[in-house]
């Protein structure tokens, strides 16, 4: 059993049928409790997942895929319709306070009170978690060092920059030293510098043994930061594993060759390489030969050896790996960037404050 254990988790919303836009439930039967003029939107349709202690786990998917809904259920803020969630062995529905003591949660909106100083924000949060005034003060001292809060500690929240606010949001989620930290879209709206700082802070947390569960719709964030990811689309998990494993599942790497301009060099090279066992596909794309191979690193020397042996001169050779977007495309049939574009259109998305 992992530190987070999710079995068959489900959640539906009842919303008003506004008579426009695509139906998100795709003609699912109306639940008994829904009245006329209402539609049931199945936000989460049965999720199974195990997260191990000390990993950075990423929940990757487009806006509206069910990421935040799932996260709220994990963080005891939303009651599931079905299934179970255990965190550190405690049931989120039956033992919410045991769970709350062990988790930190930073929502997309953050949580920094604009009308209070950083210290007041942290003190309140610490006291609500049951720390004594002394313990809170000591904890703030250590957070000031680890998150570099010196400059914002005694200023009002409304004077913070976006990056500063995110830092305090993170500190608020960590004030009680939780075993598991949930971060909902932590870097949305951050500038590149603040973003990489936040990544580093998350890695430091992992180094200290904290399990970090983040949601993101950024491919590079899932790829670079997370030890393991689950791809979620339309309320279901469609793939799960380490980013490199997932990319390995997509049909191979692409080797792109440009050859010495000798007559028929491309055609000859294609003829020569196509029968090889490691080549899945060979296509002449204008003045390049593109090979789809299983393992790019292993294929490169073999390709070079074969071409050299037949006297075909290689001008350049490039190896490109499939991206997580290729994985997303492979498992869902549409690309993440495309799904994002649809979700961002005015009819494709409802509600949700993003600040």
């Amino acid at each position: 059993m992992g530190i987070i254990d999710i079995r068959g988790l489900r959640k539906s919303y009842i919303t008003r049928d506004r008579g426009y836009g695509p139906k998100s439930n795709g003609g699912a039967p109306r639940a008994a409790k829904a009245r006329r003029g209402q539609v049931v939107v199945e936000a989460v349709k049965g999720i199974d997942l195990t997260v191990e202690q000390g990993e950075i786990f990423g929940f990757l998917g487009p806006n509206g895929a069910g990421k935040s809904t799932t996260l709220k259920m994990l963080a005891t803020l939303l009651a599931p319709d079905g299934g179970s969630v255990h965190i550190a062995g405690f049931d989120v529905v039956a033992q919410p306070n045991e769970v709350r003591r062990r988790i930190g949660f930073v929502s997309q909106a953050g949580g920094t009170d604009r009308e209070a100083t950083g210290r007041e924000n942290l003190t309140l949060q610490g006291r609500l978690y049951g720390l004594s005034a002394k313990e809170v003060a000591a904890r703030i001292e250590s957070l000031v060092v680890s998150l570099d809060l010196e400059r914002i500690l005694d200023r009002l929240g409304r004077t913070y920059s976006g990056g500063e606010r995110r830092k305090l949001d993170l500190a608020l989620g960590m004030v009680h030293s939780p075993a598991v930290l949930f971060l909902d879209e932590p870097t949305t709206g951050l500038d590149p510098v603040s973003r990489s700082q936040l990544w580093n802070q998350i890695r430091l947390l992992r180094a200290g043994g904290t399990t970090v569960f983040i949601t993101t719709h950024y491919l590079d964030e899932a790829d670079n930061l997370c030890d393991r990811i689950a791809i979620i689309d339309k309320g279901r998990i469609v793939a799960e594993g380490a980013p490199h494993e997932l990319k390995g599942r997509v049909a191979g790497d692409v080797v792109s060759l440009s050859l010495n301009h000798v007559e028929d060099a491309l055609a000859k090279a294609k003829e020569l390489l196509q029968p090889e066992e490691f080549v899945r596909e060979a296509i002449i794309d204008q003045d390049h030969l593109k090979l789809t191979v299983e393992k790019g690193e292993a294929a490169l020397p073999a390709i070079l050896r074969l071409l050299e042996g037949s006297g075909i001169g290689v001008v350049s050779i490039a190896l490109s790996r499939p991206s997580l977007d290729d994985v997303f495309l492979h498992v869902t049939g549409h690309s993440l960037t495309e799904a994002e574009r649809i979700a961002a259109s005015p009819l494709g998305k409802w509600g949700g404050a993003r600040s």
Binding site: L77, S107, A109, D113, R114, L128, G130, L172, A353
Partner: protein, 253 residues
Amino acid sequence: MKFLADLWVLFKRNIRASLRNKVWLFIGLFQPILYLLLFAPLLKGLANVPGFPQGGPYTVFTPGLLVMVAIFSTAYVGFGLVSEIRYGVVERMMVTPTRRLALLLGYVLRDIVVLLLQSLIVIAIAIPLGLTVNLLGLLATLGMMVLTGALMASFSYALALRVKDESSLASVLNLLSAPLLLLSGITLPLTLAPAVIRAIALANPFAYEVTGARSLFVGNFDNSAILIGIAYLALLAGLSFLWAARSFRRGTA
């Protein structure tokens, strides 16, 4: 006990936020003060009209004005909650092991304290203008105002948690405020009103409160409106608080 400790921490935090925004405290007082200075003098000419309650214009008008302060300074507290929900502050508190009831009570108690502060300022201004008041009657009136504040603040929070945006909240509150004001006898005593309006006003708890408070101010504790008003307000405050508590338990999602 963790509940009381949390409540104290939350109450202090809310009070600090209110006192930091002193401007709002005084904006809330601006209207009542205008009524005292620009409306109450108009009642002087009515003092001899049959049906006008005993006491001078300020003694008759100030109790009504206090009820108005009680209703309207607390009716709009939901706006603060909407903005705290938007910034994730409420969610961040709900993810701690604190009880939802402590969160709600921390807000409502703050609103009651702010209301009492505002009432005392109104009274302090009214006394030099000609208000005379029975001290015991004033205490009983403040008690009714605490109930009114609890009622309206809880109602406002429950509504805020339901609609979650300022414009819907404003429409509902505006819809309710005019009839409540007109049918409570705050500006002019209902004893001057035709029988039909008086009959409709029988359903309005604030009408009993205003009549009761006027009676208490001149030291008349016999008026049945006092007890009816207190019982009616206590019942509604209880119901409204239960609604708000239920909304808080359900969370902000």
